[in-house]
Amino acid sequence: MSKTIGFLLAGVAGGVLSGLFGIGGGTVLIPIFGLLLAFDQHKAQGTSLVALIPPTGLLAVIAYAKSGYVSWLAGILLVPGLFVGGIIGAKIAKRMEPRRMRQVFAVLMFLLGAWEAMGAFRH
């Protein structure tokens, strides 16, 4: 029971950040699974993908769309590449060792974060 509540709360936390930052939420779920719930990195990533299958961001999209913050055409064009790329990436992931994967993940996020922050400060 406490685990059930833990998973639900992890979802709410992931959802708030998802809506706030326009991301899928995996970025939040994976650290929660890995660091708080002691999943190994592959299992954390696989489970995060389950949470991302239903259209969990629907209500968030509506909130953005109301203010005109959605580019529908670009959005639709991104979907096929994402789907195919997803399969390619998963095949690569299966061959990697979990600790190495967590490091790849951390480095990538740090670089993207630094890139975003720099962009904001240059304004």
């Binding site: 998802s18 809506g19 389950v50 299958i53 909130a63 529908w72």
Partner: protein, 138 residues
């Protein structure tokens, strides 16, 4: 939209998709910066578009690959999805009134912080090889 832009958009999708499979994420952390810097969208537009892109089950193919090795906890995933639906709405309501630059700073800070947490975990000795299992429930 010109053909060049269309091809760029499709390529962005493919690159972000590889990250989806490789890292088990939705792709938004890659999409948002790519839309801002390569397509010159403002931060809100990039985030809204990213959320829209993530509505279809783009990670399904990737998920099936993980499942082949049993690296999936469906119960945990489904419970999280329920929480995320509600949380996503709250987050969207918070983000929309913010200024684009503030939002961008916050996004960058959030990514760097998560990265540091994960890195510290990855640098420690690996936990005993036995992966945690949560299927039993309690």
């Amino acid at each position: 939209m010109s053909l060049a832009i269309v091809s760029i958009v499709i390529l962005i999708g493919l690159c972000a998709g590889i990250m989806v499979g490789l890292l088990g994420i939705g792709g938004g952390i890659v999409l948002v910066p790519a839309l801002v810097y390569l397509l010159h969208m403002d931060q809100h537009m990039a985030q809204g578009t990213s959320l829209f892109v993530l509505l279809p089950p783009i990670g399904l193919g990737a998920l099936l690959e993980y499942r082949k090795k049993g690296d999936v906890d469906f119960r945990a995933g489904i419970l999280c999805a329920v929480g995320m639906l509600v949380g996503g709405y709250l987050g969207g309501r918070i983000a929309v009134p913010m200024s684009s630059d503030h939002l961008k700073e916050l996004f960058g800070a959030f990514l760097m912080l998560s990265a540091l947490l994960l890195w510290s975990k990855a640098s420690k000795k690996p936990v005993p090889a036995q992966p945690a299992t949560f299927e039993g429930g309690s």
